[in-house]
Symmetry: C4
Subunit: 281 residues, 4 copies
């Protein structure tokens, strides 16, 4: 199993081409945030914007419009009940994230269903969207044309894979990822990434100061921005995004008992600048 290192990040974060414009660095859509859990979608969007996505759209319950713009005026907004706009934005996005704070009710299912039908490049499926997919046969039948990345924690992985936590061995996880035709970022103490290519990567950094609500939402935003803007080895890009998330947390934890997800987002720009130059922050 490949242990992800700072070198992976330095390989991925390259100097931007001089003539690049917004479109060059990718379009990201984040679909999530019902009337109770809007913060999750906002944190994912904030991370995507600060990690360098060219254009980022938040597709959410309209109750979340104002908090989004108060925090991230750089992002655009679509009411997730506006299905036409949702489908168009998902269709045009280089990377789509679905799940942060989406919930599992009927609305969530319809929204998720539209996403599955329209995503056609890269689709990151997180949180409650994983749970819905694990439990709903209608949703399972929708096989998107997009490359799929799941980002479950161990309980969500159990629901999706059918593997109990005891059964979640590297071999079984890798086989299941293959069966699901997806990359799987299995979030836990020592996060593992099962790539569809067969490559398995492991994180040996991070810590329990990251165990707070919203941490996974921020991770999805970083993954989305990295995949949207960087060219090259897709496995390494995903590995680098996961490493970046925890490496910033480790740096912040030197001065903090707990690290908040939005603080990780706030430090992305400086971290990426330093890693781009091959320096230590």
């Amino acid at each position: 199993m490949h242990v992800i290192t700072q070198k992976d990040v330095e390989n991925v974060i390259q100097k931007r081409i001089e003539t690049g414009h917004k479109g060059t660095f990718g379009r990201v859509s984040v679909i999530g945030g019902n009337a109770n859990m809007g913060g999750a979608a906002i944190m994912a969007v904030q991370a995507a914007v600060k990690a360098g996505a060219g254009l980022t759209t938040c597709i959410s319950h309209k109750a979340n419009l104002t908090a989004l713009h108060a925090r991230v005026p750089e992002a655009m907004f679509i009411d997730y009940f506006d299905n036409d706009a949702l489908c168009k934005s998902v269709f045009q996005s280089n990377v789509v994230v679905v799940g942060p704070g989406l919930g599992t009710d009927e609305t969530a299912k319809q929204v998720f269903s539209s996403v599955l039908k329209n995503a056609n490049q890269t689709l990151i499926i997180d949180g409650s969207a994983i749970t819905m997919l694990a439990e709903d046969d209608q949703l399972k039948k929708l096989t998107p044309s997009a490359k799929i990345i799941f980002t479950p924690h161990e309980i969500e992985w159990q629901r999706l894979s059918g593997l109990s936590q005891a059964e979640q061995t590297p071999a079984k996880n890798a086989a299941k990822a293959l069966e699901l035709n997806a990359d799987v970022v299995l979030k836990k103490h020592g996060t593992e990434i099962y790539h569809l290519s067969g490559k398995c990567s492991k994180l040996t950094i991070g810590g329990p100061y990251m165990s707070t609500g919203g941490m996974g939402d921020t991770l999805t935003g970083i993954c989305a921005a990295f995949l949207a803007q960087f060219k090259g080895d897709q496995d390494q890009i995903l590995d680098a995004a996961v490493y970046t998330h925890s490496d910033i947390a480790d740096l912040l934890a030197k001065e903090r008992y707990v690290v908040l997800p939005s603080e990780i987002a706030d430090n992305l720009q400086k971290y990426m600048k330093h890693r781009c130059n091959g320096q230590i922050l």
Copy 2:
């Protein structure tokens, strides 16, 4: 009477276990914030999140949703008129705070009543909830199964205990706490904590730069997060939370004429890191 010291804090704030996840560090629900005093609930939630609670939910008037997410996207939200969701969240929480900005009208009473019926672990009763309980016989009859902590200032304690301020001697306060079957944090110049165990603790730090609206709301959030995440001597954990609140205020007051409650919250992570290592900030 035990004088709380930095040593109490250092005993309580231990290094987190490496394999801990969000659930390990506790669920907190804060119930408060009517259409006029939403800031109070938001400040309590902010303090709970930054003091390290694993998952924090704000249960409030829906007018407060957006300001909450603009300040603390890490928290979840429940409209306090959604009684089913309220009861479920309260029931599942390790620590519940009720009162900050809740008011004393009919809605407040119904909300408080639901909380009293469903809280089953630790319940911190603050502000207007204390006043309601002191004045409403229906509410008094609801004896929750949860361990109760009251956080009154002297006037609220007078209402609840029937003791005039002149009568509020340590002996009488301790007896009344026993009679109420609760811990009592009596907030004043030289805050005293009457534990149900019989232990009485006293704060000799803090100052009048803390005399501003919202200071008590922030205290409840810190108490909740400490009780939700730390193991061991419950009396010492509560003492440590109260000390932390004032110790941060003292540190900030070196550079400020008044200290704002939200500034105390903003400094929790660094303070706790330093106290965890046994260092002075």
Copy 3:
């Protein structure tokens, strides 16, 4: 004419009494902010809170609730159409500010009328409230029992006093303040304060980096907090508030081409701490 100096500020900002609680440091109500100009009321409230008022309430159009709590969770809110709550809050306040962003329409007049009838301690009349009073005979008949302070700029002073800008000499201004039975803070290059006591004070600090929308709103908040919390010579307290506002601006202008009103508010706590100790910031 008395030139206000740092010494005035140092005389006014005294160490807080150790046993002081929220009530000790005064209640402030700010009435302003229609559906278009809510920021004005929010800036006044923010300044009052950070200048040390014990309890601050914003009475405004309900459209401004969320932005208020997103910026200043420490403040309470009352919808200005809730006349009962408005009257009660105004009646109970040590200092009331009316005018910032209130406008001059029928709603504004009704709100202002309620304020004039209920304020009974100190009432600061600012901005559009000055214009309304100058132009409306009904409002003029309402003679509040509160001590009145007007904070007009030169055009507003012309409307209120009937003195053209050319006629606004110290002697005529002082006579007019006496006739109006009020203190007048005449805001301009070299602000002058005409006290009802006969004392006239002059500001020789400040500068054109302060010429931006909202600067006067912030001034009202500082005046309110100073008058609400400090004891002693009322003229000197008002002078000190006016000086504090411009002195912070001067300090910030060393590093800024323009100074924003909310930045002045953000620096009040540190400024007041230093002036309290007789130090230079």
Copy 4:
């Protein structure tokens, strides 16, 4: 072609006259921000306020009121459906910006039409307003009395000028600007400014860390504030605004992989102070 330098900025940013008040430094109205793209208008307003406009009004969908005031309480707000208030504000403004986040639907067209009819000093036409003007014959017939500045990127310029990107040579661009009777800021790698005077200016600073949503919105706010407050050579003032935007970005990019538009706004005051004194930041 004139290469814009720091010297242009230093010539433009002069010390403010001592007796200047809010009105001296100009009124700016920003019209933009539909229910999906409010952040764009907010970022333009934020930049105008921080770049020193005396009074700034945001005219937008009412969904954007709260996020505006949460970020920029200094600005006033008008619902863009309130046509009377819109027309009055536009008429009274020294500089009007139309376009950021406005969209191209029927509402956008009506709003834009009102702006074209009422702007009478300087009108900056940006983003979707350029697209509407390029495509709608009704709008083309409205010839405003204001001096016009277009701020297209290359695709928008293609729509407006009819020149394909390959055809966009300096000579053809200059001729087209003359034909359009407007200054044109053609935003691209090496932004060019075609002044109606015949002067052509070029930017040789800036970089791909600026390629993120909202960057152009922030530029319009800076241009508006510069034109509203500074006297003298109008071409040089516009050049200086464009240079300022990219120069701040370059400074921030030393520590950031991407630079966010709102960060540029946050650094305007300090940058302008230093350039005013002829110093390097």
